[in-house]
């Protein structure tokens, strides 16, 4: 009886500790939420706790200022994530499931690119896009995600595809399934969690990127969200902090939907990937 009570007490203390940690972790998010509905005077007097009345009008100013960046980010995010998923899953399938001379060598040539750090490639990559005349276009935002992301994507997906039982593929081939259909109709549906993980990581990367867009894009109408917030919105509304935070909240909305929709896939894929070194 005594030990049982001790366990209950200990579990409760652990819950208490964990709840404090979670509150500290999420506090900055809540700050953003309630600053976004203050007026300027209320913000000056009490920035760190919620106050009434709520000024929802901040959001209409903020939305007008960031809607263009939101559209750009959703467009760039959708195209590059779809491209990345297709290219890396197809290539990973070939490396994992098909037999051909030079397979290991070609795979190593792809994986070796993971050892090349961004600092070595940043400037020359900029110059490649410069000489191809792609600066200031959507392409300079889309291609790096598809091509650059495919290296890590292939690494992640090949390991997963290798783990699928060969018997399924043999059965499909015996039934007259073409190689492409074995990839598209057998392999892909079995790999949804890991594909979801890769998609979420890619979209978050695009949402967070500041430096590459602000370097390669000078036409502000093409900025993705983080670069647009940093290069334009922060300056335009520097005297009206609540509107700034309304803009930050708007910028987070699509990721909130992504989180609600995909977090189970994401957790499942992430935990099954068994990341270690």
């Amino acid at each position: 009886m005594n030990t049982a009570r001790r366990i209950v007490v200990r579990q409760s203390l652990m819950h208490l500790l964990m709840i404090v940690l979670v509150i500290l972790l999420l506090y900055p998010l809540f700050i953003a939420l309630w600053i976004s509905v203050k007026d300027v005077t209320a913000f000056k007097q009490q920035p760190w706790l919620p106050t009434l009345p709520m000024w929802l009008g901040n959001y209409s100013y903020a939305w007008k200022a960031v809607d263009r960046y939101m559209f750009n980010t959703v467009f760039v995010g959708a195209v590059s994530t779809a491209g990345l998923l297709f290219l890396s899953s197809l290539s990973a399938y070939v490396f994992a499931r098909m037999r051909f001379p030079g397979r290991e060598g070609l795979y190593m040539a792809v994986i070796a690119l993971m050892m090349v750090p961004g600092v070595l490639t940043f400037v020359p990559t900029y110059m490649v896009y410069n000489s191809l005349g792609m600066l200031d276009t959507y392409l300079v935002l889309i291609i790096p995600t598809i091509i650059g992301g495919s290296v890590g994507g292939i690494f992640l997906l090949r390991a997963f595809f290798n783990g699928l039982p060969e018997a399924i593929f043999e059965a499909a081939r015996l039934d007259g399934c073409s190689e492409f259909n074995a990839y598209w109709r057998v392999c892909m549906p079995l790999s949804l969690p890991i594909l979801g993980t890769l998609a979420v990581m890619t979209i978050i990367g695009i949402w967070n990127d500041v430096i590459w867009p602000m370097t390669t894009i000078s036409d502000e109408r093409l900025f993705t969200i983080s670069a647009g917030l940093f290069m334009k919105f922060n300056n335009d509304y520097s005297t009206n902090v609540p509107v700034l935070f309304a803009g930050y909240t708007v910028a987070s909305l699509p990721l909130i939907f992504l989180f609600l929709f995909a977090n189970r896939f994401y957790i499942e894929g992430l935990t099954s990937a068994g990341l270690k070194l």
Partner: protein, 305 residues
């Protein structure tokens, strides 16, 4: 043509579909992944501007780089920022993963994991802007908390991000309690992979939780610890988002790191060749440090591989 060559050609021809399916990947990689690093290493020996005009200058870029006090000073600064963040980022999530693992209720384990992922929904830029407000010298949260705890005098103004003595600790403290994101999840997956008989028998032998963590969990999680440490180190050395968004390298040159130095030389001064030389030096340093780290952090899995 020998018989062997003919059979190889035959096998290549039979597998033509595989090569066809890989061709989009390799066309893309050649232009956008293999060419740039080679171009960077080559142009490190040139005076090369943003218009593409170049002149061979031998080792001049490197001589200038290693004589520039701004660059030389940026190296220790980088380690002062990266190493504490790396230790925090590797071990705090491990402790929290053990904490969550110790909950008896599977439902709460799942809920806590979900809550830790939630900060993902705010772009990193937004987080940095929020923390900039938290560090506001006059009515920032850190200042208010310090005053109410009596750590700071009522009339004292500390410019957390603008003062040499506070800027680096402030950058490290950012993101407290450092447990958001995927690290805790990956550690938890590792802990759950430890065979339950091993953990149960440690309990039967009377080992405390701390003893179990030290003698069983830690050795079995070395693979994950190495993963976070090595990739955290590689990413940390190259990161200059904070400099671009928050500090501008300041105050003075106090938060300059090599990556930021490279960025300014390329896109502020249009010296692409010089910036490529910085990139090449950083590449060599990262490569060496990675090998060194891997050598001194031997994985327990090595014997079984």
């Amino acid at each position: 043509m020998s018989a062997m060559e003919r059979t190889l050609l035959r096998r290549v021809w039979d597998a033509r579909l595989a090569y066809l399916l890989l061709s989009p990947l390799f066309i893309g990689l050649i232009v956008f992944a293999y060419y740039p690093p080679i171009s960077g290493m080559y142009h490190a020996f040139f005076d090369w501007n943003a218009l593409g005009k170049k002149t061979y200058i031998g080792l001049d870029n490197f001589r200038e780089l290693f004589a520039d006090p701004v660059f030389l000073h940026s190296i220790p600064t980088m380690f002062l920022i990266v190493l504490p963040k790396l230790l925090i980022g590797t071990f705090v999530p491990l402790l929290v993963a053990e904490l969550i693992f110790s909950f008896k209720s599977a439902k709460w384990k799942f809920r806590y994991r979900m809550l830790l992922l939630l900060p993902m929904v705010a772009p990193g830029m937004v987080f940095m802007m929020i923390w900039a407000r938290i560090y506001d010298p006059i009515n920032g949260l850190v200042t208010l908390a310090g005053k109410s705890l009596g750590l700071i005098g009522q009339d004292q103004i500390i410019n957390w991000l603008g003062d040499s003595s506070t800027v680096i600790p402030s950058l490290i403290f950012m993101g407290f309690p450092w447990i958001g994101g995927t690290a805790v999840l990956i550690y938890m997956a590792g802990i759950m992979n430890i065979p339950s008989e091993v953990i149960e028998s440690s309990v039967l032998d009377g080992a405390s939780v701390w003893r179990r963590i030290a003698s069983i969990d830690l050795p079995l999680l070395m693979g994950q610890i190495r993963y976070f440490f090595v990739f955290g180190l590689i990413a940390g050395i190259q990161d200059y988002n904070l400099q671009v968004v928050l500090t501008g390298g300041g105050p003075g040159y106090d938060t300059y790191v090599p990556g930021y130095y490279m960025y300014l030389k390329a896109f502020g001064a249009s010296r692409m060749g010089y910036a490529s030389a910085v990139g090449l030096v950083m590449f060599v340093a990262i490569f060496g440090l990675t090998l060194l780290t891997l050598k001194y952090m031997k994985s327990n899995d090595d014997s079984r591989d």
